[in-house]
C-alpha cells in the first residue's frame, strides 16, 4: 500500500538536522543561544531585570555551559505576566496565540510569529517522520483543535510532511471509530488515555481495530507507562510512539521517539535540553535523572530561557540505533507536579498505574482521591471493574480488591483504601486524563 517503504532515504532531507555531526550541532546551538538570550534581554522585561539583578549581560554566554549562569523561568512567570507580558515581538509580527487550559486560575498565553510557526511545522514534520509516517499515510488527528497546541501543531506538521490529515479533533468516540474504519486511517494522534477509551469503545461496537489499516499511533500530552503502551499495541495492533512537547516551549514537537522506541530524540537545533536537580537547581550530567529544563533556541515571539518543565527524565547521550545524532530523553512517566505528597511520602500516579497493571494485566480506568480525615491524609484509589476481572462471587471480588491494595502498598509504601466501582463511574476526559483529585484543601 505504501510505496515509500522501500526508500527510507527519501526522508533524509526532511529530518537532516536530526543527523548533524555533534560538533556542527553544538556550534549551531551556541550561535542560536547567544542570539536568543540577546533577544530576550532586549524584549522581555522580566528576563532583563533578572539578568541585571545578577549583574549579567547577554555577553556572558561564550560557551553552551554558560547557560547555567542564567536564571530559570517557571510556570508562574507566565501567569504573573498574563496575558502578553513575555512577548518579544510587536503584535503586528505575531500571527498566532495559543493558551493552556488553565486548571488553576488564569490560563497561560503563548505567541508565534511566522518564523515560529515554520519552526513548529518543521519539528512536527520531523516528529511524524520519526514515527514512520510518510506521504500517503492518512492521519486522523484527534488532538483537540483550538487554544490547545496539540491539534494545530500536529495538523501542520503532518500536512508539511505530505500526509493526508483528517482534522477530526477530540471527542465523539463513535465517529472517530467510524472515520478510522471508513477512511482507511493508517495513523492516529491523540492522548494515550483517550486511545485506551477508543479501544474500549471499539470493542463494545464490535469493531476489531487490528483488522483495520491503522498501523501507527502518535501519543503525547500526558505521561504514560510502558505497560500502557504494551496494552495499546496489543489491543489495536499498532506501533505506539511517544512524542513530547509543551505549550510554553512550542507545543508538541520538542521531542519524539523513533522506530527504536527507546527514548525521545530532542530536536536540539531548536530546543536545548538540560537536566537539573529539582531541589537545588544544579545541572546534572547526561544520564542522571532530574527535572528537564528547556531553552527555545529558535523561537522569536516568545523565547523561553531555561524553562523548568517539571517533567522528570534523564538525557541519553549514547548514539541511537536509528542513526539520529540529536540526544534523547528517556520516556517521561512522571511529572514533579503530578506528584503528590501524602503522609510524607512522594507518590506518582504512574506508580499506582503500574501496580494496578501488575494485577489486572490490562489498564482499567482509575482515579486517586486524596482526602483529610481528622487531620490525617487518606488516599483512596477507585478502580473500574472490567468484564475480564469481574466474578459472581464475593470472595473472588474481595480477593481482587485485596490484591490491588497490596500491590499498591508494595509499590508506593502506603496503605490505600481500594474501591472497586462500576464501569463508566470515573469521568472520561477527552484530553489529559485527570488521575488525581485532591480534596484535602476543601476539607479544612
Amino acid at each position: 500500500m505504501n510505496h515509500h517503504n522501500g526508500q527510507p532515504n527519501a526522508f533524509q532531507s526532511v529530518s537532516s538536522p536530526d543527523y548533524l555531526p555533534p560538533n556542527q550541532l553544538r556550534a549551531l546551538q551556541l550561535q542560536r543561544l547567544q542570539a536568543i538570550v540577546r533577544r530576550a534581554y532586549e524584549h522581555q522585561d522580566l528576563f532583563r531585570s533578572r539578568l541585571e539583578e545578577r549583574g549579567l549581560t547577554p555577553d556572558c554566554i561564550q560557551d553552551i555551559s554558560d547557560i547555567a549562569k542564567l536564571p530559570f523561568m517557571v510556570k508562574t512567570d507566565l501567569r504573573d505576566t498574563y496575558p502578553f507580558g513575555l512577548f518579544a515581538s510587536p503584535m503586528d509580527e505575531i500571527v498566532r496565540l495559543h493558551a493552556s487550559s488553565g486548571t488553576t486560575g488564569k490560563p497561560i498565553v503563548v505567541a508565534y510569529d511566522q518564523h515560529d510557526l515554520d519552526v513548529w511545522s518543521n519539528v512536527m514534520q520531523r516528529t511524524f517522520a520519526a514515527c514512520s509516517v510518510h506521504p500517503g499515510d492518512i492521519v486522523q488527528n484527534a488532538f483537540g483543535y483550538g487554544l490547545f497546541t496539540g491539534g494545530l501543531g500536529a495538523h501542520y506538521g503532518a500536512e508539511t510532511l505530505g500526509a493526508t490529515v483528517i482534522p477530526i479533533s477530540g471527542g465523539n468516540t463513535e465517529r472517530q471509530i467510524m472515520v478510522m474504519k471508513d477512511f482507511g486511517v493508517t495513523a492516529v494522534c491523540c492522548t494515550p488515555s483517550y486511545f485506551v477509551h477508543v479501544i474500549e469503545r471499539a470493542r463494545e461496537l464490535g469493531v476489531d481495530l487490528k483488522s483495520l489499516p491503522l498501523r501507527v499511533g502518535i501519543f503525547g500530552a500526558e505521561p504514560w507507562t510502558s505497560q500502557m503502551r504494551q496494552h495499546i499495541e496489543d489491543e489495536a495492533g499498532i506501533k505506539a510512539y511517544d512524542i513530547y512537547g509543551l505549550s510554553e516551549i512550542i507545543g508538541p514537537g520538542v521531542a519524539s521517539e523513533c522506530d527504536a522506541q527507546n527514548g525521545l530524540h530532542v530536536f536540539e537545533d531548536n530546543f536545548l535540553p538540560e537536566i537539573i536537580d529539582p531541589t537545588t537547581g544544579t545541572p546534572l550530567p547526561d544520564g542522571e535523572e532530574g527535572e528537564l529544563v528547556l531553552t527555545t533556541l529558535n523561537k522569536f515571539a516568545m523565547p523561553m530561557i531555561r524553562y523548568r518543565t517539571r517533567d522528570i527524565t534523564n538525557i541519553i547521550a549514547e548514539p541511537c540505533s536509528c542513526g539520529r545524532t540529536v540526544r534523547r530523553i528517556r520516556r517521561i512517566s512522571r511529572r514533579s507536579d503530578d506528584m503528590f505528597i501524602i503522609r510524607g511520602v512522594n507518590v506518582f500516579p504512574s506508580q499506582i498505574e503500574a501496580a494496578i497493571l501488575a494485577i489486572e494485566g490490562t489498564l482499567p480506568h482509575y482515579q486517586i482521591i486524596l482526602t483529610r480525615e481528622g487531620g490525617l491524609d487518606q488516599i483512596e484509589v477507585q478502580v473500574e471493574i472490567t468484564p475480564e476481572v469481574f466474578s459472581d462471587t464475593i470472595s473472588a471480588m474481595e480477593e481482587l480488591q485485596r490484591k490491588l491494595a497490596n500491590s499498591i502498598e508494595h509499590t508506593v509504601g502506603l496503605r490505600v483504601k481500594l474501591h472497586l466501582v462500576p464501569q463508566q463511574t470515573i469521568e472520561r476526559s477527552m484530553g489529559k486524563a485527570k488521575r488525581v483529585i485532591d480534596r484535602r484543601q476543601l476539607a479544612e
Binding site: P387, F390, T393, L420, V421
Partner: protein
Amino acid sequence: MKIHQLSVFLENKPGQLVGPCRKLAEAGISITTLSLADTEQFGILRLIVKDWEKAKQVLKDAGFVVNVTEMVAIEVPDRPGGLAEVLDIAEQGGINIEYMYAFTDKLGDKGVLVFRFDDPDKAIHVLGAANFNIIERVDLFNRLGIIS
C-alpha cells in the same frame, strides 16, 4: 443441563439496584429469580431470566459489567430434610458450593434449588449418580409457569 445466571456489579449505595431492573423491564424481560450479595462497598446482583443472551446484551449496552455463570438446578422433595440430602451427597463427593438459592415449583410439590458449584460438571455427575433429578433449562422455566 446447566442454567445460565447473569451477574451484575453494583456499587453498594442507594438507588443502584433500580438501574439494571429498569433496563430489563424496558426490554420486556421478566426476572425469574434473583439474589443479591453485598459487602460494605459493592454488591453483586445475580439474575436468572429466560432469555439470558438478550438480557446480557441489554445490560452490557447500558454500560453494566455482566458475567455469565453456569448454575445447576436440582429438584428436591418439598419436605424437611430435602436440602440436607443434597448437601450430604455434595460434601461426600467433594464438591464445593459457592452459594445457592431456592425456588418453589408452581406446578407441583417439589422444591428447586439452584446451585453455584465450583465445578458444575463434576456436581452434575455426582448428584446424577445419586439419582437426584437435574432439571433441564426448558423444564425449569416450564415448572415456573413461564411459557416458552
